[in-house]
Amino acid sequence: MSSVDVMQETGAKTPAPRQRRLTVARALNEAIHQEMATDSSVVVLGEDVAKIGGVWSTTVGLLDAFGPARVRDTPISESGFIGAAVGMAAVGLRPVVELMFVDFVGVCMNSIYSLAAKQRFFSGGQVTCPMVLMTSVGGGYSDGGQHSQTLYATFGHLPGLKVVVPSNAYDAKGLLASAIRDDDPVVFMFHKGVQGLGWLGTVPRAATHVPEEAYLVPLGKAAVTREGSDVTLVGLGLTVHHAIDAADQLQKEGISCEIIDLRSIAPLDRETIRASVRKTGRLVAVDDDYMSYGIGGEVIASVCEDASITLKATPRRLSFPDIPIPFSPVLEQGVLPNSEKLVALARQAVLEK
């Protein structure tokens, strides 16, 4: 997927190639800047978000631009400051809160899944929770098992949260703007492998053309990143890039892949997945969350329970195995999904029977 591919699928006007290529980090930062500028109710909270602009560079420059009342460094009190953000949201602010690593959800899960997610329901619609919880996900750089998880399905499973995972800068900006304007709590998971921070390593392709003006990419809609006819590859975040690499490889073997970028875990855009598999008849889902009760299983079940779909091959999934994430680079790289493993699975699907 070049940035041009992204433009096609997102429907923006085709720009001059390489025009204004931004990283995901810069795209996210720009979205927050723009939303804060147009809506004074947007505030930002989190560890190290003010003075240094966020460990992931998501909040650079906001303190200078909008001042300490709206951009605030917090103590290491995730449960407290996310809970506080829900209170802010209940009375008219739109907090954007950063949870530095998704792995830290264990210390603040109640504030997310019980408080933020259920306010609107418990109040019968009287009180909403227009909060965005931004958080980094993913490994691959040997940060060990408490700093490398994605936990996608953990969030997707719990009702009341919208859950978003961009794979590229264009989507990242538009999805974040939509998230900030949404009246429901949105968990916005940016993958470290596509964030575009040199010190972390990144997939260069994730940096795309990003229009300067604010725009929205709708929440809850998957993207057809590439059209194809033989097999549907479903991915999200970093694994969309594994799918693109795999598709490029398979192309050489004469196998045509359709690629679905989920973009949203909740709501899950089952219709886009189903429409693709209805066409190709073959499905391989790829994600880097733990396998059981995970993304791949839900994608497979969503396809298989649709009586209108006839599969030409057994559906397959490639996920992180059901083990904590090992530190040693050889082990971590060995167990992470990648494009080679995906190529093998997709090839099997096409050659089956």
Binding site: G83, A90, N110
Partner: protein, 333 residues
Amino acid sequence: MQPGQAPHGNLHHRLWMYEAMVKSRELESRIKTIYFEGKTPVFNMAKGPIPGEMHLSMGQEPCAVGVCAHLRPTDFVTATHRPHHVAVAKGVDLRKMAAEIFGKKTGLSRGLGGHMHLFDAAVNFSCSGIIGEGIAPAVGAAMAARIQGRDDVAVSFMGEGATNQGQFHEALNLAALWKAPVVFIIEDNAYGISVCKAESTSVASNADRAAAYGIPGVFVPGNDPDAIHAAAGEAIARARAGDGPTLIELETHRLEGHFVGDTVEYRPVEERERLAELDPIQLFRSRLIGDGHEASELDALDAEAVRLADDAISFARNSEYPALEEAFAHVFG
């Protein structure tokens, strides 16, 4: 007089407190009776017009009225699984509240929430069944008022048991650090379900925990509406003036079980026998009369409270249950 209208003189706010206490008590007495409908001879929580757990606040009314007498509708209050007295004192719509407790479509939340999830956005009231969950939102709402340039305050009510939740610590540190206009009210009824304070809390008075945040800590003994009113008034004025949070622990008494159906065998017999003497409504009534109020004046307030409670209950009883679609109407697809 409604909460939010500044209490005009000592006389008026005392009568307001009295009436609000009686109103809460009358409502809860009816709830308690009705709770057993369908649950006898075999007690089964799932049955009857009011199913599920039911935590009554009887005996703890002074905490609610002494604090809420100082609050406006725009001030923000979070309460707990034991929320009725605070809801009544904060001015939550009584009919809708009763209907919510019955699970009716006319309820505050159309029956989605129930007794532990009373939300009334009109008076900025909410509560929660997870211990400690309401503390941080109160800090956030208080900060929002500051950011938005309002002089509203927030008050978080909690039980003494809740002070041992990590959330208590995180929220108090944030509030102190940010000088949030919030007041933390601990209703110390000496028990968290069956576990008494000495077995859960490493200090005798939670007021001492204020030192961990560099904020004032106040302990008010006696379950006394006047004393609570005074202490809360000072703290709320302080918060409103921008001088930061206060932690107040109030001695109070849980006259009933933890929930209805609790046989309370874990409380020493002497303690249980003494409870009737500790009814704060009777004590406050006697004091008011001693201070020169006519019994007839109080009787009139009692009658009004009874009328409102009856009205709320019959509204709830006569309302319809929500349609099944309602369950899906407040979550995106």
